[in-house]
């Protein structure tokens, strides 16, 4: 549980610190005209304008997903320690290729976001298309990696190491598929001729979410490689 506790501690420290900065020396019982009731974080206790609801929503979702993976990784490490039957499975070389795909996907979406910001429709379309394409390649590649492992006799039920490999990659892929649904919607709107400015928020969320999932995959991959 150490991993999870560290994660929760970090979350709570950030959150607590933020709340602290809002409440320290505040004397809530004092009334004040709206505009002078300011706090260190910005006027009226509102967040700065860049912090939009969808972005905060994404941040919260990312926190939830991180909690989910932190717990799964904790379970992984604990199961490794508790049982005495752990047999590490070989990491298919294909995973390196898949990782490259996901990196490219993430870069492409970043490119699309930049395009949307600049109003550059061509890089928006291209980035969006490539980003999704690479991601689909990644998901298919993960499926192929499963097949390779199965073919090599590393069945799900055989060993907890195998089961965790399938569980972790499947959970990660599931999150990507969720992202792909949002991506498909955005692409559809772009194809229907939506202006770059109109899809900017969506593309931005996709790009940020993809970066998160890339980071997550790197952590998972490192874990699978090292244990």
């Amino acid at each position: 549980m150490t991993i999870t506790l560290v994660f929760i501690a970090v979350m709570m420290a950030i959150f607590g610190g933020w709340l602290f900065s809002h409440s320290i020396n505040v004397r809530p019982w004092e009334a004040a005209p709206a505009d002078t009731g300011s706090t260190p974080m910005g006027r009226n206790g509102q967040l700065p304008p860049g912090v939009t609801a969808p972005r905060v929503g994404l941040a919260v979702f990312v926190a939830v997903a991180t909690a989910l993976f932190a717990l799964t990784i904790s379970a992984y490490l604990m199961r490794m320690e508790m049982g005495h039957d752990w047999r590490t499975l070989p990491t298919p070389g294909l995973l390196w290729l898949n990782t490259a795909c996901l990196v490219l996907g993430s870069i492409a979406l970043q490119w699309a976001w930049n395009g949307a910001r600049r109003g550059d429709e061509r890089s928006l379309r291209l980035g969006l298309g490539l980003g999704g394409g690479f991601t689909i390649a990644f998901v298919l590649g993960q499926g192929l990696a499963w097949q390779q492992l199965n073919a090599a006799g590393y069945y799900l039920v055989e060993n907890p190491a195998n089961a965790f490999f399938f569980l972790l990659t499947a959970l990660h892929a599931l999150h990507l598929l969720g992202g792909l649904a949002a991506w498909a919607r955005t692409l559809f709107r772009v194809q229907r001729g939506a202006a770059p400015a109109a899809v900017r928020a969506s593309v931005e969320l996709c790009a940020l979410y993809w970066h998160f999932l890339l980071l997550l995959w790197v952590v998972l991959f490192a874990l699978l490689l090292n244990t």
């Binding site: 004397r27 809530p28 019982w29 049982g83």
Partner: protein, 466 residues
């Protein structure tokens, strides 16, 4: 002001209830008086806080009841008051925690000279293992458990002299620290003796422990305190705290693993000779005879027959005055010369060919099917009997006999004897059959289960051998 009165009455009433309640801790029978002391300390501290807070609450409700001519006092906070309250609470909490942790310190460290007993839990039965002369337990693993190796012993020299106690009755010497090593064959269980205070879960695949020193002679009940399935509530045992000599004598009379493994196979021919005395009532083929109230014997497993014959011999069955036919059976069982004879005759009967029985009672088999769900947990979904759960075969037994026995269990005529733990269990389980109709229904359903040996053999391989 009703509320004021109610708060006062409830507060004082609760305290009074605590003081006067006849439902309190069971008499202590182990060294864990310290646990009781911490509990009492907690009671005093929490009780004081409970009374103080609630009486103050009652006072406040009374003193500051609504008055349209008065206004509330305006005071957003009082740092001083809050600091005091926080500080006092923290001190109180520390005062509760510190002794608790000290006692826990001794709870987790068994004394060096503690002797060890392994407790094995299974659905829904206890058994025990002692390390034998070498003082070491042989290696075990759940994967090695079979009907013939219920402890899952691995071929290990250290295990040869391990003493195996298969019945849920345990003896412990008084005033000698004992460390319980706990494991489970299947789901989670919890070895609890209320009088000992200490308890711990038992898990499959790992060994947990706790220790006590029994301090009072007497017999105490073991119950399971972790949900383990349908018969959780009927998973009982007894532990008897005795003088050292009595314990040693008892322990010496229990078989070791090596002795059990070296046991001679039963002599069926001798069994056949002994069976001659049974023929008059139970029939030459063990087909039974309803006219003389003798049930069918063929098809029953040797371990079950042996156990019941032993119960009859020991006076644990067939001694209750309301058990007329059991009383008739008893002299015949005592006629057998020794335990070997019992084993032999049981082995002979188990080999007899099965015979058909006739339906004599009527009941609603469909209602019975629902009721039988509970029975299936031990006796098997086909009523084939499962040795691992100590449950005899039901399918193929005559309905009048089943109904009568269920009735006897329900009335506590059969199965109440302390030497008959599985009978005890049936008394608990049979409470779910609330009336005669329920008994007839479930028996009617049992009569619909496959009665032929082939089907049963498929469902219960190796069921007839020990």
């Amino acid at each position: 002001m009703v509320m004021v009165l109610v708060v006062i009455v409830l507060t004082l009433g609760s305290v009074l209830f605590y003081v006067l309640s006849p439902w309190n801790l069971t008499p202590l029978a182990s060294n864990w008086g310290a646990i009781d002391t911490t509990m009492h300390t907690t009671a005093w501290v929490t009780g004081a806080v409970f009374v103080a807070v609630n009486l103050f609450l009652a006072y406040v409700i009374f003193r500051y009841r609504f008055n349209r001519h008065r206004r509330s006092h305006y005071e957003p906070e009082s740092k001083k008051l809050e600091a005091w309250l926080t500080g006092l609470t923290a001190v109180g909490i520390a005062a509760l925690l510190a002794p608790g942790l000290v006692v826990w310190g001794s709870f987790v460290s068994p004394p060096e000279d503690a002797h060890e007993v392994e407790v094995v839990g299974q659905q829904w039965h206890w058994s025990y293992r002692f390390p034998g002369e070498d003082g070491r337990f042989g290696a075990v693993h759940n994967r090695y458990i079979t009907d013939d190796n219920p402890f899952g012993m691995i071929d290990d020299p250290a295990g040869q002299d391990d003493i195996l106690v298969e019945s849920p009755r345990l003896l412990l010497p008084v005033d000698r620290p004992v460390k319980f090593l706990l494991r489970s064959k299947d789901v989670l269980h919890n070895f609890k003796v209320a009088n000992f205070r200490a308890k711990m879960d038992m898990l499959p695949g790992q060994v947990s422990y706790f220790w006590i020193t029994p301090t009072r002679l007497g017999e105490y009940e073991i119950v399971c305190a972790q949900l383990c399935g349908i018969a959780h509530f009927a998973m009982r045992g007894t532990v008897e705290v005795v003088e050292e000599e009595v314990f040693e004598e008892w322990l010496a009379s229990q078989p070791t693993y090596a002795e059990l493994a070296a046991r001679e196979p039963p002599d069926r021919e001798a069994g056949q000779e002994h069976y001659a005395a049974c023929v008059a009532c139970h029939g030459a083929q063990g087909e039974g005879n309803p006219a003389v109230n003798a049930p069918r014997l063929s098809g029953l497993a040797d371990w079950y027959l042996e156990r019941q014959l032993m119960l009859f011999r020991e006076g644990a069955r067939g001694t209750h005055e309301a058990d007329t036919y059991g009383q008739q059976m008893r002299p015949f069982a005592t006629m057998l010369p020794d335990r070997a004879a019992v084993t032999d005759v049981a082995a002979y009967i188990a080999e007899l060919p099965e015979t058909e029985v006739e339906t004599t009672l009527s009941g609603d088999a469909r209602r019975g099917e629902r009721l039988y769900r509970t029975c299936a947990s031990c006796h098997g979904s086909q009523g084939q009997g499962i040795k691992a759960t100590n449950a005899p075969r039901l399918a193929g037994m005559p309905d009048w006999y089943l109904a009568r026995q269920l009735e006897l269990f329900r009335e506590g005529v059969r199965g109440r004897h302390e030497r008959d733990p599985y009978g005890n269990q049936m008394i608990d389980m049979v409470q779910m059959l609330v009336n005669e109709k329920a008994i007839h229904d479930v028996v009617a359903y049992i009569m619909t289960l496959p009665r032929s040996e082939q089907t049963l053999a498929a469902a219960n391989p190796g069921g007839g051998e020990e």
